[in-house]
Structures are given as C-alpha cells and as structure tokens.
C-alpha cells in the first residue's frame, strides 16, 4: 500500500489587496474561486527579483539595439546610405552619338555605328592563362598582351579590345569568362573608304576629331553625353519603384557638305589616272561652283615613292600646301593692268624674246623675234616677257595689292585645320628681280584653293566669293540649318572680268590650253608651268635638274560659268608642261561635271526630263543634284547667251604653245 502525502495547496501570492465584493444582488462575474492571498514572503521576493532581472536584461538588449540604431541612423547615416546606394543605384553614362558627315545629296560619308569594347576586371579573373588563350584568337590580339592585361595589379578596368564587331562580340559572350565584360562604344566608319579622305579627316579611338573636317567641327559633331540613374537588383533587373533619373544624351549635329560623292570619285579617278600617265609624284584637283563658292570635289592624291598606284592623301594639300602657280597667275596681272588702265584692252605691245630685269634675264618659252602682241596673245600664249612688261607698268605696289585682293597671302574662309595662307614677299623684301618673277607667278606661293578662288573672281564678273565646304548642319531634332551664303566682295569691274574672260577663252581655243577644251562648250582657263623650289633654296636639285608643277585652272561654260576647276600635278615627268599634263584632266573632270549637274551647252535650256538618280537631301531637299539651281525647267529654248560686256580684245594669233 502506498501512502500518498499531499501537500496543502500553496496559497496564491497576495499581490494586491482584493477589494471587498460590492454588495449587490447580482451574482459575481467570475465563478473562479478566489485564491487565498498571502504566501511565503521570501519566494515572492525571489520571483520579483527574477522578473526585474529579466526586464533589466530585456531593457538592456533594447538599449543596445536602440543605441546601434541611433548610431546607424544618426551618426553614420550618410556612410551607410551611400554604401546601400552604391550596391543598388547604378549611374549609366549614355554616350552621345557623334554627328554624321553627308555629301550634298545625303549620301553617308562618315557615320558612327554602335560596337562593343571588351574589357576586364583583373581582380575577378580566375584563370588568366586560360582566358588569355581563349581570347587571343577571338580578338586577334597577342596572347601575351592579353595575359599582361588580365594580370594587371591594382586595377579594376583594363581594355582588351576596343570597338569590335558583332561577330566577335558574340564569340566573347559565348566564352563566358570570369571578369571579362562588354561595353557599348561607337566606331567611326567611312563607308566609301578613302574617298575624300583628306577633307573628311579622321577621329581617334575615343571618337575625337584629329584631322580634316572631323577636327574642325569636332565641337559641333560631338554631342553631350546623357546619364541614366536607376536602381537595380543583384541580377541587374530594374527595381520598379526605385530611383530613376534620365538625362537624355544630346547627339551631335550632322554636317551636310558641299561635296558630291560621284563628282569626288570621278575627280580622284581622273587625277590618279593622269598621275600614273604623267609619272607624277602626286596631284590636287578641285571642282567648285564659282557663283556660290561651293566646293564640289577636292582630291589630293599621292604616290609616296613616285611609283605605283596613287593613294588618297591624308593631308588636304589643296589647302595646306603651297606651290608656285607660275603662268596661271598671269591672269591676275592682266586683270590688274586692265583694271588700273595701264593698258587699254585692245593695246598691243612690242614683245622681245628676252628681257633683262635687274641682274636676271627672262625669256619666253619659245624663242621668237621681237614681235607685236595683243594682250590676248600675251595671255593665250603665256608670254613671260609680255606679262613682265605689264607688271613693270603696274609697279610692285599694285601687283602686290591685286594679288592680295584676289585672295593670295591669306587663309580662306574655310578655316580648315592647318590651312596655309600662302607665301608672299612683303613689299620691302622685293628684290630687283621680283618685278620680273612675281607677275608671272614665281616667287609667290599659293594653295590650289586660293588659285581657284582667284579664277572664280573672273568667272563671277569680278566678285570674289568665299569658298564653302559645309552646306548645312542637321540638328539633334533633325532640323536642317543651312549655312549662310558665302560672303563676297568686288575685286575688279565687270568690264575687266569680261575682258580677261574672253582672253582666257582664247587660251583654250588657240593658246596653251587647247587640251582643256570640251566639245559643245566654251571653256575659259589658263595653264601654269612653274619650277618647283628645292630644299636647298634654289630651283635646281643637287644634280642640277629642274622640277615642275603644272597647273590648269578654268571655268565652264565661259559665257555663264557654272563650274570651275583647277588641276595641279606635282613633278610630272612624261611632260613638264601644263598643256599636256593638267589641261586634259580638267577637260575630263569638267565634262563629267557638266553631265552630272545637268549643265547644258550655251544656248540650250534643259527641258524637264527625268533627273539622274540622286539621294534625297538629309534634310528633305528634293533636288540636291542640281549644283547651280540656275537651270529652270522651262520648255523653251533660249538664244545663246552672249557676253553682256563688249569686249574689245583682239583675237590671238594662232600659235599654239606647249607650255604655260
């Protein structure tokens, strides 16, 4: 039998006094028996202490938590906010697209296309050897170069290959290499290859213009980068309600050039062919619209070793390099003489075979007895002596003044990078023989553009028009902003210009420039054959040989000039005369240009026929192929235009000369 002892029930602790029950008749709410109050006093104290202890502990914990929170929220707030933001807020630089270069008809000459750049964070590269081995054949970069890049210490960013194409990009992606990433970067392309290379220029790997128009208009074509700030999760997904600020990138302006792609190509081709044919070292050619100053083509071809196929020069020598124009400059001397009235247009001069000026004796190209020459004869046959005699009548001051008025000795309005102002002797530095050399284009150096601009003065009836290479800009919103028309100023009177123009017609009809003639059109021009200065200071090289630069400049149709061109060959060897070296190229280029720009022969007005295929202008111009805009689509024929000015020049003697 088991004896069970039961402890008496412990009285409930007397925690508080129980108020006596109200004396109401209603029954008590609780049926629970009221525990007796009281208990062991020591037990109650112990319990209270425990509770107080626990409470104190909890309070302490809370205090620690609150303290830490205060530290985080109040004292180190900015640090932790930045730390959090750096983990999820990601600023993305939006590169601004560089403006494009268009030809006058909207054909792309230079444009930027998005590509990818492969870069690496060396800290994250797990196996540099293996990754270098894998990347080398894909990127076509030397393995050791890649390995060095992938193991670069203390760097978080190294380029592995920049601006690679999409195929390469995909191959890199497929490799899935640790620490190797891709970056969007645009690359500049010239879709027509080296066409107009010297004019367009180039950009460096960072898309900063470093030559040509790319350099000159770098500020215009470089846009403003934008930025996108957004919050992303660790997987790169945008947090929906996170921070999101977008500052859009502003693309750069496009440039619409005055250059015509087809004309440029044909000019380069014709020039190259002639360089090869003439055994020249190189050449330059420019085609322009004399009325507006717009340059339609500007070609610079070189044969670096004097042999082989010419290549497009990176140097726009037509604007940066000077040469002595030789007889082409006689046009200015003649115009000055007529304008100043030192001789009447119908004057004749008694021209000897040779002439002594100071200590030098000048001769004409072909020996001849002393004979009477009209001014037209002098120009058409390019008489040195006759021109020097005119120069002597003019005097040094007026020769210098007119050459400067025609644009010599100063840079053009093109303001092309590294453009040359030409070389002109200050008047006080003229020697005794300068009055003999400078009127015939020796002892003065010009750029091909300056020389063509001088001829444009005659073509424009005596008005100088600034040359122009940029037709318009296209803003970021696609709006076309035409550049202002070229400024102009009068140099000689209309009468003088017409008289000189008539003389220049005779140069092509019966003078030194017959090979520049074009069937059905009247061409006015002038040849120029000049000795080329040598590095030693004289005109003869170490072996005692002379080297020549040949020039032909002119315009067509002579009655109403719509096109002008200049062709300069550097050191032709097959013939040293401009008549055979440069004039034929002029004829070929101008013939093409007349067809290309729908310029009819004199007396014929074009009927509205289907135009040649053309690119629409980037800003919506409908018929950009018409270079002049002066041929109205009428349906009538007109009387052949005749010079509005009465020319009193006498026809030249029919004496063709080979030189200029």
């Amino acid at each position: 039998m088991t004896t069970t002892t039961t402890r008496p029930p412990r009285p409930a602790p007397n925690r508080r006094k129980i108020a006596p029950a109200p004396s109401r008749s209603v029954p008590a709410r609780s049926r629970r028996p009221v525990r007796p109050s009281g208990g062991h006093p020591r037990t109650g104290v112990r319990t209270r202490n425990r509770v107080v202890g626990v409470l104190a502990f909890v309070v302490l914990l809370f205090a620690i938590v609150v303290g830490r929170m205060a530290q985080l929220q109040l004292f180190d707030r900015q640090r932790y906010t930045a730390l959090g933001a750096s983990q999820r807020v990601r600023p993305v630089v939006l590169p601004a697209e560089r403006g494009s270069l268009f030809d006058r008809n909207g054909a792309d000459l230079a444009l930027s296309v998005p590509q990818h750049t492969v870069w690496a964070d060396p800290r994250l590269v797990s196996d540099p050897q293996r990754e270098a081995d894998a990347l080398a054949p894909v990127l076509s970069v030397d393995r050791d170069v890649l390995l060095r890049a992938l193991t670069t210490p203390n760097k978080q960013f190294v380029y592995l290959a920049r601006q690679v194409d999409d195929t390469t990009t995909q191959k890199v992606k497929d490799l899935k290499l640790d620490g190797v990433e891709l970056l969007d970067e645009s690359k500049r392309f010239n879709p027509s290859g080296d066409l107009a290379r010297s004019v367009l220029g180039s950009v460096n790997i960072d898309n900063v213009g470093r030559a040509g128009l790319e350099q000159q208009y770098d500020g215009t074509m470089t846009g403003t980068p934008g930025q996108l700030v957004l919050e992303q999760d660790p997987n790169g997904r945008t947090i929906a309600e996170g921070e999101h600020h977008l500052t859009p990138a502003q693309p750069g302006d496009d440039l619409v050039l005055t250059v015509d792609t087809a004309m440029q190509f044909e000019t380069e081709r014709a020039l190259s062919d002639q360089i090869v044919k003439m055994g020249a070292k190189g050449g330059m050619a420019i085609v322009s619209n004399p009325k507006t100053g717009e340059i339609l083509a500007i070609a610079n071809m070189d044969r670096p070793n004097g042999t082989g196929t010419p290549v497009a020069s990176t140097n726009n020598r037509a604007l940066t390099t000077v040469f002595e124009p030789g007889s082409a400059s006689k046009v200015i001397t003649m115009a000055a003489a007529l304008e100043e009235g030192v001789v009447p247009p119908d004057a004749t001069l008694t021209v000897p075979d040779h002439l002594k000026v100071a200590d030098a004796t000048f001769t004409d190209h072909d020996p001849h007895p002393t004979e009477t020459m009209s001014l037209t004869d002098i120009l058409a046959n390019s008489s040195n002596i006759g021109t020097i005699m005119l120069g002597q009548k003019l005097g040094a001051e007026r020769i210098d003044s007119y050459q400067r008025k025609f644009g010599f000795g100063q840079t053009t309005a093109l303001n092309f990078p590294n453009e040359s102002a030409g070389l002109m002797l200050p008047l006080k530095s003229w020697s005794g023989t300068s009055i003999g050399t400078i009127p015939i284009g020796q002892g003065v150096a010009v750029t091909a553009t300056q020389m063509l601009d001088a001829f444009n003065v005659i073509a424009n009836g005596g008005v100088y028009v600034d040359p122009k290479l940029v037709l318009a800009t296209v803003g970021k919103d696609g709006t076309r902003h035409p550049t202002p028309p070229s400024s102009s100023h009068r140099v000689v009177s209309t009468q003088t210009a017409a008289e000189v123009r008539d003389m220049m017609e005779q140069v092509v009809i019966s003078g030194t420039g017959t090979q520049a003639a074009i069937d059905g059109y009247t061409v006015a021009g002038k040849t120029g054959t000049a000795r080329k200065p040598q590095p030693n200071g004289g005109y003869q090289d170490a072996a005692g040989n002379y080297h020549y630069v040949t020039t032909f400049a002119g315009f067509v149709p002579a009655e109403d000039p719509q096109l002008s061109a200049i062709v300069v060959l550097d050191e032709p060897t097959a013939t040293i005369f401009a008549s055979g070296a440069s004039a034929p190229v002029f004829s070929r280029i101008a013939s093409y240009a007349l067809r290309r720009f729908h310029i009819p022969p004199p007396g014929i007005t074009l009927a509205p026929t289907v135009p040649a295929p053309t690119h629409p202008n980037p800003a919506g111009a409908t018929q950009a192929n018409d270079v002049t805009g002066t041929v109205p689509p009428t349906t009538s024929t007109t009387v052949p235009p005749k010079s509005t000015t009465t020319s009193t020049t006498t026809p030249p003697k029919s004496k063709k000369k080979p030189g200029g």
Binding site: D108, P191, L195, T261
Partner: protein, 167 residues
C-alpha cells in the same frame, strides 16, 4: 448594454397638470420598442479584420507583381529599342558601303564585264530639235520628276531625334 423591454421600465412620470377639459382628448400613447440593433460577434469581427488584412496584403502582392512584370517588360523594350537602333545604324552603314562608287565600279568591271567607253561623242542639239524635244516633254511635271526616292536617307530627319543612346 442589454436592452430592457420598455414595459418593464415603465416608470411613473409626473404628468403635467392639464385642464380637465383636455384630459379626455389625450391620444392613445404607448411605448414603442426600440428596434433591435444586431451586433456582430467578436469572432465575426476578428474573421473580417483578418480577412481584410489578408485581402489587402494579397492585393499589395498582386499589385507589386504586376509592377515588376511591367518593369521587366519596360527593361525588355528598352533593350529592344537599343538593339534596333544599333541594327538601324548597321543597315545604314551597309547601304552606304553598297552605294560606294568604288564598289559599284568594281562590280561593273569585274562582275558585269563593263568597260569604260573608248571615247565620248557629244551631240549638241540644234535649237529646233531642242524646241520639239521640250514641247514633247511638256506633260512631265517638274514636281513629279523631282520627287525624292524612297530610301533610308529621306527618313533621316524623322529618324534622328529617336536615335538617342539608351542603356
């Protein structure tokens, strides 16, 4: 508080003294029971509150899910726009390369067997011929002939504003 029936709570209310003449016309008044207001039990309230909270939470989850889905779509569209812009530029480059004069010349001479003409003969029409030719072509409108061709370049001014770079 429990509603006590009005009959039980009839308490003698002191009546105002009235004139004996009007006592007989006193209307038949009676105490109307107050309509009983049904109150929800605590359990029902709890269920409703908890259900409401869950409904709100569920709604928030749904809303957030839709938000995330839309954001993903937006990201996808952004990526697609960037891709298409790059594609456009690639095609533009391709067209320009195909139109390059040197390429056309190469194709003409090497693939098509074309040769440059040995010589060009220029015919200058007489004035009378030009007149008749002009008269024959009077039906052609200059605006028709000058219409721009429908290639990519004509759309450039419209396209350019939308080619801004995007991430």
């Amino acid at each position: 508080m429990a509603v006590v029936p009005a009959t039980r709570r009839s308490v003698a209310v002191p009546q105002p003294r009235r004139a004996p003449a009007t006592r007989e016309r006193r209307p038949q008044l009676r105490v109307v029971a107050e309509p009983r207001v049904r109150r929800l039990s605590l359990g029902a309230v709890t269920v409703l509150v908890v259900g409401g909270v869950f409904a709100v939470l569920f709604g928030l989850v749904v809303f957030h899910t839709v938000l995330l889905k839309n954001q993903q779509q937006l990201d996808h569209l952004d990526a697609q726009v960037t891709q298409e812009q790059a594609h456009y530029q690639q095609l533009r480059l391709q067209v320009a390369q195909l139109e390059a004069p040197q390429r056309i010349l190469d194709v003409a001479t090497t693939k098509l067997g074309m040769v440059p003409p040995a010589g060009t003969t220029y015919l200058t029409p007489a004035a009378s011929a030009a007149t008749s030719s002009a008269g024959a072509s009077q039906g052609t409108s200059p605006s028709d002939t000058a219409a721009p061709s429908d290639d990519g370049a004509s759309a450039w001014p419209q396209v350019k504003p939308y080619l801004g770079a995007a991430p």
